[in-house]
Symmetry: C2
């Protein structure tokens, strides 16, 4: 049995089918939410008001003299202090956190960052490094009046080596633009994520971003070859090696990967880029249960092995959110669970043969009832949009989203979604979805409601984090700790690890000026 | 044109041809060396005598009371103090370094290591952690009287997860035994190296070992998911996460990967193991110049892409060493350069088609004059032995070997071998070979002579390190710094990096009891 390719006529037919077949209760819930958030203002409560337990550290307050110093380093037009212009930098992309900074600095060079940070350290002025501001735990926005240093103007590509595949660039380069640039060199970026159109590579590294190709290309701890970092005292740490192998002493750059801007300010990056695959296939299949998703995963790993580059799952609620809120349509029969798989390889015929064999086996065994393989780039992009635009669909028109990014053993992976759904089942318009990177045991659990509601929060937290700790999972698989989870750090880290983390922080940033209130509770 | 498979009759014929065709001068040099080292005693000079510039730190001296404390922790039979029994632990595998320790401790558990290290820290007794003692820079043997703590009895496999592929084990497990164990779970270790039969996984991680599959599976910084480490104060740092993704705070374990036992004692390991390939092919081809090796590499990367798992080169002198010293024979026509390439994939037919296409193209273009694809596992092992046994061949019968493990841009990669060969050309029996991991820009440059000769050393060092620094390479790609290269650390690391490395060392090991004299000059 072969899976039919996606043809326009079929697509239209299926889409209308998909629309018709949405469970009525779910459609109603979402429609109600949409009506409500039209009426909501875009107001985002100050983090310091929403979290009164967080107290401002004993940092200096910004003075006119400070501003004139920064203007002397950067010129006035790269020091933003008009409140209206500063505001977008104060609020995170999810509209969950809002700081009250009155100054955004836009350096272009490492030396400028160094001068700024050195001055702030001497003056005991707190700072928050900010990249594309696409983080999901409030790590890149201020909590109080921290000065925002943005990498927006640090976007120079320094070098690319065709043979070794090593890219060197400034921290403010946008991920998607880098990928487009190196495409001409037959290379691809070793990470890819929904926010690629605006996230900065420096922010990706500070967050240790995972994303949809982690399964294939692994962690940034492996891909990042070198970093240049401005330390809290303003000194420039040059670890910008662009060698695939270098065992000369401690691999210091690793400390900054995933440190969320609390140990240093990343200014330059050297990263190993793999060969760009000449053949990419994407398939979407539907199945009946999460147990079937796991069986499909095992079979897929075996059959696709080295060409498997993504294995994502979405539950039917996730897809409903995308369909209703973004107007996307389902190219296959509605199913309780969906799997999106991608292959990337060097020989189109071989890859298609492997993928077709797999899909045939999945349908023959009855694990999959319907599925489609994208026939061209447009269809590939369309199938991916069903997965990549989930985050966007969950906050459409100002809806508030409680987001959880968890690592869990696959044997208990989806149980948590069911548990949370049960806990909020009596709340009107609370909508629970589960999706994520099954290949990396990484679950994204999202709960949306028309606006932030402490009662809903109390039903979810600390329940979710306690559950994760009880099965030795991680309370943050890829998003980081930020301001969202410091109180749950010990759910996933031993006391000995937290002590050593604090020792590292004290050693590298004794005045704690770098991104305060993040990662640690105090 | 198809490459003939290796058949026994052809093999015999080719081997005799290979033997006949060895350049006379090279054969003569090697024969002379072999005669000489038969006459040499196995005596290895004390490192403290050979390097009088290294002064013993102000550590305590071992007393009978100390010994009785260790015996109370471990029982007497796991405290080796008989000089004859201690001696093998004092000398490194390369027979380049010899310490004068009088005590070897053999803990079995983390708790025992913790008690020992805590006591040593309080008493200011220096210690050296030792795994399989297969390191190549003297990192795992004492310089003076440091107490040796061996992981030999810490060899328990704790768990293996079939679905996620995550292995958890004690640090003293032997790499090859782990690979055999997980073979039954359709998994493979993400690293492989010549010393696999005796090296310990803890030592691999402490060294950040690279090896022949680095090209495919990348760095241990990506594969190692968790570590348990005993810190200098005896406290147990639990970072033994076995999750593929965990972004909860700083990734502390990274600090210990490649720290050569100077920051902590690794006791347990969690490592992600990839799917074991069901199809492995190995080909050996000969070519005329190193420029051709590079062209072949570019074509191979493009054609084999995701199934390429190794790309190694050996010059004719390297192969001569293996043939003459180990009695191995060449299955293809003698060539100035040889390339050994390996594919690992999930579909034998696809892999063979890709490899055959490549070899055909290489021969059609005239880049390759002769080559062979191994027909079965025995032949695969044989072809690999030509590469893996180079290190052994260079120290056969006590010959001294000056070993260099360098990262260099491919454009200047082999020039260094030619330069060094020129510099020692007037020294009888000095023999220079170049081989290594072209795919990772990692050159192994070896010079052998019948015995250690300071004059030869002065011709090679600091020349080699200066050359590497002048082209922004690394003076240690994968072997580490150990006792061999502390004075050249700054050839590959910036002053800012060395300062921060020292700060890390002082912070984590204030009494400097862990593996002193290694990495840093003071």
């Amino acid at each position: 049995m072969r899976v039919p390719l996606l043809r326009p006529s079929l697509l239209t037919e299926r889409l209308s089918f998909a629309r018709r077949s949405l469970p009525l209760t779910i459609r109603k819930g979402i429609s109600q939410s949409r009506k409500q958030y039209r009426a909501l203002s875009p107001f985002v409560e100050l983090t310091s008001v929403r979290h009164p337990e967080i107290k401002r550290g004993s940092y200096s307050r910004l003075t006119d003299k400070d501003l004139s110093v920064f203007e002397s380093i950067l010129t006035a037009n790269r020091c933003i202090s008009d409140p209206t212009d500063v505001e977008p930098y104060n609020v995170d992309w999810m509209k969950s956190y809002r700081g009250s900074s009155s100054l955004v600095l836009l350096p272009k060079t490492t030396d400028e960052v160094s001068q700024i940070v050195k001055y702030c350290n001497e003056r005991c002025l707190a700072i928050v490094p900010q990249g594309g501001n696409t983080g999901l735990v409030g790590g890149s926005v201020p909590v109080f009046d921290e000065i925002i240093i943005s990498t927006r103007l640090m976007n120079e590509i320094i070098s690319i080596d065709d043979v070794s595949g090593i890219l060197v660039c400034q921290a403010g380069c946008i991920l998607e633009q880098l990928d487009r640039y190196i495409e001409g060199h037959h290379l691809t970026m070793p990470l890819d994520l929904g926010a690629k159109g605006s996230c900065h590579i420096g922010g990706n590294i500070a967050t240790n971003a995972g994303g949809i190709r982690y399964l294939r290309y692994g962690s940034l701890h492996g891909s990042v070859l070198g970093l240049e970092v401005v330390l809290a005292n303003g000194k420039i740490l040059d670890c910008l090696s662009s060698l695939r192998k270098d065992n000369t002493g401690y691999d210091l750059k690793q400390l900054f990967i995933g440190s969320e801007g609390t140990l240093g300010f990343i200014t330059k990056v050297a990263i190993a880029c793999p060969q760009r695959p000449s053949s990419v296939n994407v398939a979407l299949v539907g199945c009946q249960s999460f147990a079937d998703v796991l069986t499909i995963f095992k079979m897929t790993k075996k059959k696709l092995a080295e060409i498997l580059s993504a294995f994502e799952f979405m539950d039917t609620e996730t897809m409903t959110s995308v369909f209703v809120n973004l107007g996307l349509t389902c190219p296959i029969t509605d199913s309780p669970f969906y799997v999106l798989m991608e292959t990337s390889g060097s020989n189109g015929n071989h890859d298609e043969e492997k993928l077709n064999d797999l899909i045939e086996e999945l349908m023959t065994t009855g694990l999959v009832q319907d599925g489609t393989i994208a026939a061209d780039l447009t269809q590939i992009k369309y199938l991916w949009s069903l997965r990549e635009r989930v985050a966007e669909s969950m906050v459409k028109d100002g809806t508030y989203c409680y987001k959880y990014d968890l690592s869990l053993d696959l044997s208990v992976f989806y149980d948590l979604v069911l548990e949370v759904r049960k806990r909020v089942s009596h709340i009107p318009h609370a909508f629970v979805v589960g999706y994520g990177h099954v290949g990396d045991s990484n679950l994204h659990l999202n709960v949306s409601s028309p606006e932030f509601d402490p009662h809903i929060l109390s039903l979810i937290e600390p329940f979710v984090f306690d559950y994760v700790a009880s099965v030795s999972g991680s309370v943050s698989a890829e998003h980081g700790i930020g301001i969202h989870k410091p109180m749950y750090l010990r759910h996933s880290k031993s006391e000995s690890a937290v002590s050593l983390m604090k020792l590292m922080k004290q050693t590298l940033d004794p005045h704690a000026i770098l991104n305060p209130y993040k990662i640690f509770t105090s």
